[in-house]
């Protein structure tokens, strides 16, 4: 890549081995990624075949498992729906690898922003702490979170499948209204940008409803139907919600949730999936269990069980 003073292929090789990159390398890579992302629209149009990946949350070994199941870059095209960091143990390695792959194969790898790609949320849910622990300072966290401000908000596959991290917004009827959002900023608490990374479907309802939390929306069947009609799409594909089966299909196959962190937080026991969209645009969920590396280290294989015992009061 012109102007990038690092060897991306060497970085990718190291990251596949779960080795950290040096801080100046991260800085250079994030700067270059910003330049690349800046040129992307808020609605990126791509063509199938593509494999769509939901929340990963720092579960690095499970990301490798996804590549083993779905194919490595650049043999397989990937669209990631966000929430790369927080909760899992390897957020730094996960986001480092994804960013290097994006830079190396900009037209074969697409990254959407999730609600965890934000300064506020990553301070509370683990990424900040992990950066500080692994690098001895918060610099790397600053490099990554500054870059997050440039991630796109949505992708449309084959002019037919609308992909976003969370869901729909009452401010958005047509995707043209997404295109005019000023996205180069921290995720705000309110407004269409917040709704896109935040909102959840509610299968019991037809319209938008307010969350009991006092901020945020749920969207119902008629909202989905109308949005698809206005934009001449057939399907909404999103992530954001944990499901035990690894995926969930709602509203007469008009919306799917794809969840890609198996055994979430290393203890939920859930399955995960990636959604493969083939040449013809047909969708297929590839469901998988946690990576065998995680399983190799199972807690119930004796001594660990003893080590966990604590004299709590």
């Amino acid at each position: 890549m012109p102007g990038l003073p690092v060897d991306l292929d060497a970085c990718i090789e190291r990251l596949y081995k779960r080795e950290l990159l040096a801080e100046p390398v991260i800085e250079a890579i994030c700067a270059k990624t910003k330049e690349l992302l800046m040129r992307e629209s808020n609605v990126v149009h791509i063509l199938s075949p593509v494999t769509v990946v939901g929340d990963i949350h720092g579960q690095f070994y499970d990301l490798l498992e996804i590549f083993r199941i779905g194919g490595f870059c650049p043999d397989t095209n990937y669209l990631f729906l966000g929430d790369y960091v927080d909760r899992g143990l390897f957020s730094v390695e996960t986001i480092s690898l994804l960013v290097c792959l994006k830079l190396r194969y900009p037209n074969r790898v697409h990254l959407i922003r999730g609600n965890h790609e934000s300064r506020g949320v990553t301070q509370s849910y683990g990424f900040y702490t992990e950066c500080a622990r692994k690098y001895g300072s918060a610099n790397v966290w600053h490099h990554f979170t500054d870059m997050f401000d440039f991630l796109t908000l949505s992708v449309v596959i084959n002019n037919d499948i609308f992909c976003v991290h969370g869901g729909l917004s009452p401010s958005i009827h047509s995707i043209d209204q997404i295109k005019i959002i000023d996205r180069f900023r921290e995720i705000p608490h309110e407004g269409p940008m917040a709704d896109l990374v935040w909102s959840d479907p509610d299968a019991e309802r037809d319209e938008f409803a307010l969350s009991p939390r006092g901020a945020g929306y749920t969207f119902g069947a008629q909202v989905v139907k109308k949005f698809l009609e206005i934009n001449n799409f057939s399907h909404i594909l999103r992530a954001h919600q944990l499901c035990q089966e690894g995926y969930q299909v709602l509203y007469d196959d008009r919306l799917s949730t794809v969840w890609s962190a198996p055994n979430y937080c290393y203890r939920c026991g859930n399955l995960a999936s990636v959604l493969e969209v083939d040449d013809s645009g047909a969708r297929f969920f590839n469901v998988f269990d946690q990576a065998p590396e995680n399983a190799d280290n199972r807690v119930d294989q004796q001594p660990v069980e003893k080590a966990q015992v604590e004299y709590f009061l």
Binding site: A10, I12, F72, E190, L210, S211, G214, L242, R267, F312
Partner: protein, 284 residues
């Protein structure tokens, strides 16, 4: 630098030695130990599937938390001579969530709610429907589900901490999650149950921890203590609570791991003042 050849896919992978995973399996589906006539059982299974969540939602009348371990239990039973259970106390997610306020009277709002509402009213006056209000922080005053005739009575007795501080051998230990929710990135809410069984006694701690960012911290602890020899059961329920603002001033400024502390109920307990304690007793 040249990009003629793509990097080859890796041929070997690092070993995840530092990942501790607890993938529930048959081993966790029912662990049990009996000391004298007291039987202790724990069960750890995956989170509920879509069908089970639907059933639970119907029974509760509210949406369950994001991570719902509805098949997990911790139970303590007094077994009769015929092997039947004469008395028991069980901790499970369904009963804990049934005690969450479903009226909306105890409802907290996220820190930026007022600003959000104002903005929203300007833009979307049409949307008035609120998803059935309930205490979405899932705060519960659950003290366990009791079966059998014997009832707890108020007591002045205290759980004997001196005996519990002794490093007696632990015959059985488990840490069982009942539910967890990230409050849509506004904090965390978590209910888990720990139990340790020693040769002469046992201690169970069901701890609910809730942090609503920029609003409040809350801990609700239920401890169950059983002395095997005389069959004395003590149950202690404590509430701790403090505003976010005041907790922030208590954590020393040199602690740069503040986010990590705020995720850890065990560390947070010392920063939250005790609001109430109720101790009860029964003899098996």
């Amino acid at each position: 630098m040249s990009f003629s050849m793509p990097p080859p896919p890796p041929t070997s992978y690092p070993i995840a030695r530092d990942v501790q995973t607890v993938m529930p399996t048959a081993v966790d589906a029912g662990k049990t130990i009996t000391v004298g006539t007291v039987k202790i059982t724990t069960r750890k299974l995956p989170i509920l599937n879509a069908q089970e969540i639907e059933t639970m939602t119907e029974r509760l009348g509210i949406a369950p938390p994001e991570m719902i371990f509805g098949n997990n239990i911790v139970s303590i039973e007094k077994m009769g001579a015929g092997g039947q259970s004469e008395w028991g106390i069980e901790f499970n997610a369904l009963d804990a969530l049934d005690l969450v306020d479903k009226t909306g009277n105890d409802m907290l709002k996220v820190a930026y709610s007022a600003a959000w509402q104002k903005q929203r009213e300007r833009m979307h006056e049409g949307i008035k429907e609120v998803v059935k209000p309930f205490d979405w922080t899932y705060s519960t005053n659950y003290k366990g589900s009791v079966t059998g005739a014997k009832q707890f009575e108020p007591t002045q007795d205290q759980i004997p901490l001196d005996k519990l501080r002794r490093q007696d051998p632990i015959l059985f230990f488990d840490d069982v999650m009942l539910y967890e929710d990230e409050l849509a990135d506004n904090g965390m809410s978590i209910l888990s149950v720990k139990i340790r069984v020693m040769p002469s006694r046992l201690l169970l701690l069901a701890r609910f921890y809730m942090r609503l960012d920029d609003v409040v911290f809350r801990i609700r602890d239920t401890r169950v203590f059983v002395e095997f020899e005389d069959g004395v059961v003590l149950r202690e329920y404590q509430e701790r609570e403090e505003s976010y603002e005041s907790v922030e001033t208590k954590i020393p400024p040199y602690r740069d791991d503040k986010p990590a502390i705020m995720r850890d109920p065990n560390q947070m307990a010392e920063y939250l003042p005790l609001k109430s304690t109720v101790t009860e007793k029964l003899v098996l």
